[in-house]
Amino acid sequence: MMKKHLTVIARDQCIGCLSCMFACSRTWHEALTTSKAALKIRSYIGSEGNFSIRVCKACEEPECVAACPTGALSQKKNGALQLDAEKCVSCKICVESCLIGGLAWDEEFAKPLPCFQCGACVRYCPNQVLAMTRMQPENAKEETDNVD
């Protein structure tokens, strides 16, 4: 069976409520905020109602893992990233290496916020914008288009 991973399936349906970001922060950090979320929802300036949604795609060969100079960032079999905080030197190269902006940054501790592919954000999305999908290699192009 192919692994399941987080996918933006209907960006245009996003209402900008940030419920997904709150859910991620609550679930993994017990934090009542959006700032600990591993995904990012942003408004495009001057374009009301148009939201940018950046999620970790659980790439087959993640650029962020390859770029990490200390081996602090690694990927599990299910596609989830994991961080060894003690090895992390807060260089932020991992975040910069992700071209789609799918890796979030924790301003408080100066560490990346890896996505664990748990689906909490999907559970709390009221408008079916996000889904956990099984990715086939041939679907990769289509799903890349959906991430924006």
Partner: protein, 578 residues
């Protein structure tokens, strides 16, 4: 919950952070907390547009933490009514104030030059806003959104349009994407202080203390919002769905409250907007409902293929104020008017009622073209109303300057008091349902349809039999309960989600131990504090005035009897218990 207050002194360009644990423990947040702070900082006899009038912004113990606790409360002395000014707005402001680590902001004094307040967790930077002065509310937001200032995390932008700069007494203050502190002139108070905008953000947060209990509470609210159906109508058609309902119940104000039904209601209904103009719904931060309805209007500006497209938000009150009450039955025209209103930063309701008064005054001969600069006012003519808005924005004559001060001010100067639809100085909302509504607007703390939802009681009376005394008791009970809702501060659209048992569980988890009896005392004390402030400003419960015209028209519940309203007002005051 946060227990810090950020106090900003514009006169000296300074600030300080106050730790107020005891006050938050007593006053919870939102409207109750802001009322305490208004008592502390405001001079009830002072000039609302003077430096001593504070602007207080407060969030509550559920803000940013539970779904749909999305509102921020603003309290000030109103330049429109001369007494209690209170208005609530959504957007991302409550989240941003929370993220900055504050439970409330107090803005005092006045700047000598235009400023933008740039606020984060630790500091306030006073940026010169000379270049922004004169910019529309919409442009100001776009410009500031692109600035990379001190805030980390998500930021919120509160700003005024040119109407606030001109001190229009019903200028609003706009938050993020077309959310507003709409009523009672916060925009003018900020304008008098030369505050063009406030940008706030931060990264502070709290940890969940009892994960299992919190999850149970959160999920029960979330499911009620998303799956129970109780909030579906707000997402689907939105409040605009009330156009046809009120029209069918003879409650939709038309042509300056001449009649309670509009022959063009079908054309401007929520269904008509939803089917042909709605481009999407969006939400305030942490609201999974998404009730903000954005319409898209495409206009041709060149005879070949020159088109422009703009988005503007709409809801019931806006369609009533610039639609049926001005006899405009074209959604295109309503959206064009709203687009202009959005840029200038007026309260659409007060503006619409003032335009309706002006039209009736013109038609009855109280005004002529010497005052209107040659413009002939008549109902249903959107192009002319757009010209009027342009004249107001350019302040071409004394008359157009006066229009920016509202219907009561204009009626005192030009006549037509009997058809100036104002209550305690504030223009009426979109309900012509009967005596409960008018009593609500006359006696409610902020003269608003949101005080006690009198319209709902009127409509309930169509199918149920309540004595006059029972109706008044219901009205005051609702007004009193809303002290709590507005202290939390939840969006009132979620009032059927936030039932008392839900609120109590939330407060016990996030504020302090309290019981149902404690809340009753809290609500009553908060209500009485508001009236005490109003009375210090000069408001008197026995000096109420119903626009005479309303005794000559039909409403959902029949004709309105001024004597009956006086009786209701007296009973209302007894219930308040001051």
């Amino acid at each position: 919950m946060w227990t810090k207050i950020l106090e900003i002194d514009l006169t000296h360009k300074s600030f300080r952070i106050l730790e107020e644990q005891e006050l938050f423990h007593q006053a919870m947040g939102g409207t109750a907390l802001a009322t305490h702070l208004l008592e502390r900082y405001a001079d009830p006899t002072g000039d609302p547009l003077g430096p001593d009038n504070p602007v207080i912004l407060a969030i509550g113990p559920f803000s940013n933490i539970l779904p749909i606790a999305t509102k921020t409360t603003a309290l000030f002395k109103s330049p429109h009514t001369g007494e209690l000014g209170e208005s609530h707005a959504g957007g991302r402001l409550a989240m941003a104030i929370y993220n900055a680590g504050f439970g409330a902001l107090v803005i005092r004094g006045a700047s000598s030059d235009p400023v933008v307040l740039d606020i984060d967790e630790n500091q306030v930077v006073f940026h010169s806003a000379r270049a922004l002065w004169g910019q529309s509310a919409s442009a100001t937001e776009r410009i500031l959104r692109a600035r990379d200032w001190a805030q980390s995390g998500k930021k919120s932008i509160l700003r005024i349009g040119p109407a606030g700069e001109r001190l229009s007494t019903y200028a609003c203050a706009t938050v993020d994407t077309q959310r507003h502190f709409g009523r009672l002139g916060l925009g003018a108070v900020l304008g008098s202080k030369k505050v063009k905008a406030l940008v706030i953000g931060g990264n502070k947060y709290q940890k969940i203390s009892d994960k299992k209990r919190f999850k149970s509470l959160y999920d029960s609210i979330y499911e009620a919002v998303v799956s129970s159906g109780v909030m579906h109508k707000y997402h689907d058609l939105g409040t605009a769905g009330n156009i046809l309902k009120l029209n069918q119940n003879l409650g939709l104000p038309t042509r300056n409250f001449n009649q309670p039904w509009f022959e063009g209601a079908d054309k401007i209904s929520g269904e008509a907007f939803g089917d042909r103009y709605l481009s999407q719904q969006i939400a305030c931060a942490h609201c999974q409902c998404g009730c903000i309805h954005l319409a898209t209007l495409r206009e041709q500006f060149h005879e070949e293929h020159g088109f422009k497209t703009f988005q503007v938000s709409y809801d019931f009150e806006l369609i009533y104020a610039l639609g049926s009450n001005l006899s405009i039955d074209s959604p295109d025209d309503i959206l064009r008017l709203l687009h202009k209103v959005e840029k200038e930063g007026w309260d659409a309701m007060s503006l619409g009622v003032t335009l309706a008064w002006a039209t009736e005054a013109f038609l009855s001969g109280l005004l002529d073209t010497t005052q209107t600069n040659g413009i002939i006012l008549h109902f249903g003519d959107a192009d002319t109303y757009l010209k009027v808005l342009d004249q107001m924005a350019r302040q071409t004559t004394d008359f157009y300057r006066d229009l920016e001060k509202g219907a009561a001010f204009c009626a005192a100067r030009y006549g037509g008091r009997d058809f100036a639809i104002t209550f305690g100085g504030n223009e009426g909302a979109g309900y012509m349902t009967g005596e409960n509504t008018f009593t609500d607007w006359l006696m409610g703390p902020r003269h608003s349809h949101l005080d006690g939802a009198g319209y709902a009681i009127d409509l309930e009376c169509l199918t149920s039999d309540f004595s006059l005394e029972e109706q008044v008791k219901k009205l005051v009970a609702e007004t009193r309960f809303r002290m709590l809702l507005n202290s939390l501060v939840i969006c009132l659209f979620a009032r059927s989600v936030y039932l008392e048992e839900v609120i109590l569980e939330g407060l016990n988890l996030l504020w302090r131990p309290c019981s149902s009896a404690d809340l009753e005392i809290f609500n009553q004390e908060t209500l009485q504090r508001k009236y005490a402030f109003k009375m210090k400003c000069g408001w008197q419960p026995n000096l109420i005035e119903v626009p005479e015209k309303l005794s000559r028209v039909i409403t959902s519940t029949g004709k309105v009897d001024p004597e009956s309203i006086k009786k209701r007002a007296a009973l209302y005051w007894q219930e308040v218990g001051l």
